[in-house]
Symmetry: C2
Subunit: 159 residues, 2 copies
Amino acid sequence: MQPTIPLAKFLPYQLSITSNAVSGRIAQEYRQHFGLSVPEWRVMAVLGDSGALTQRELTQRTLMDKVAVNRACKVLEERGLAARTPNAQDGRSHHLGLTDSGRTMHGQIMPLAQEMERRVFAGFSPDEISQFRALLERVRAQVGELDSDTIDSDNFGVG
Amino acid sequence: MQPTIPLAKFLPYQLSITSNAVSGRIAQEYRQHFGLSVPEWRVMAVLGDSGALTQRELTQRTLMDKVAVNRACKVLEERGLAARTPNAQDGRSHHLGLTDSGRTMHGQIMPLAQEMERRVFAGFSPDEISQFRALLERVRAQVGELDSDTIDSDNFGVG
DNA sequence: GCTAACTAGTTTCAATTCCAATTATACTTT
DNA sequence: AAAGTATAATTGGAATTGAAACTAGTTAGC
């Protein structure tokens, strides 16, 4: 006989509410300061870091849905923060890069990102931060593994 | 001059994608095995753990939106997994509790939850798990603190 | 070099989520 | 006890999201 787990002790739940709290707070900052959504911010961050990319590359680097990437790109283009230039190697895609105004905003965005990170993890030692990072990475890898097979109905894999 | 942070090293981003991966995997299991959404599952988990509650109490305990709670409750009621009984103390609300069939499902659900938790955190030592838990909790508390004040436009709080 | 299969990007549609308004009941003040 | 305020639950509508369909261009096999 197993004891019941209160929801609050369930790690995936704790992970979820913590992530939502952090994401929500950060989304609020970006909206207030720059009028950017999270997908838009992520695309800006990657473009500023890597130079011009295709949407496909952006999808890979941000781990976002290609529709989300496409919509973010459209908005950034409409706002004049990014621009498309033809891709000589592949007529289906374009290279998307930051404009001057996009680069200017990127220069303001990254300090805010760093400040948010600093605040959220204030009171953590460098060791704790790198441990946290490592744990997250391992969890993610583990879920990737799991994704291939499914838990058996009868015994829930406890066998 | 600050170095740029690649998105992949940005902790809130790592937290977000890890949480999404875990939530997605778990949602898939609940859908497959029980036809339950995550909000529905959470309500079931809390009801099974605490006995009958009002929607207000469910909202507090699950940290979900009251609309999400309401709709989850409606679905559970329609499926005969939960039932409402009048609340003598307050005519506006009802006590929502699991039915026999709900309790039966709860009995199957919790082992699946534990198995998922075990799998996602397979390879973690008990120490690492409790450290992870503690880190999540501290992050969440920290964000709660932050929520009261806002970062100043001019200096991003670095001042 | 033509056809078939594939891929990048876009659009559409349906589901979900989130906010705001509504309803019904409860409290509070006079 | 009447009027006004507050709160639990619900509903409706707007915005967001994701899956699948669609378009245009590319690659591979013959």
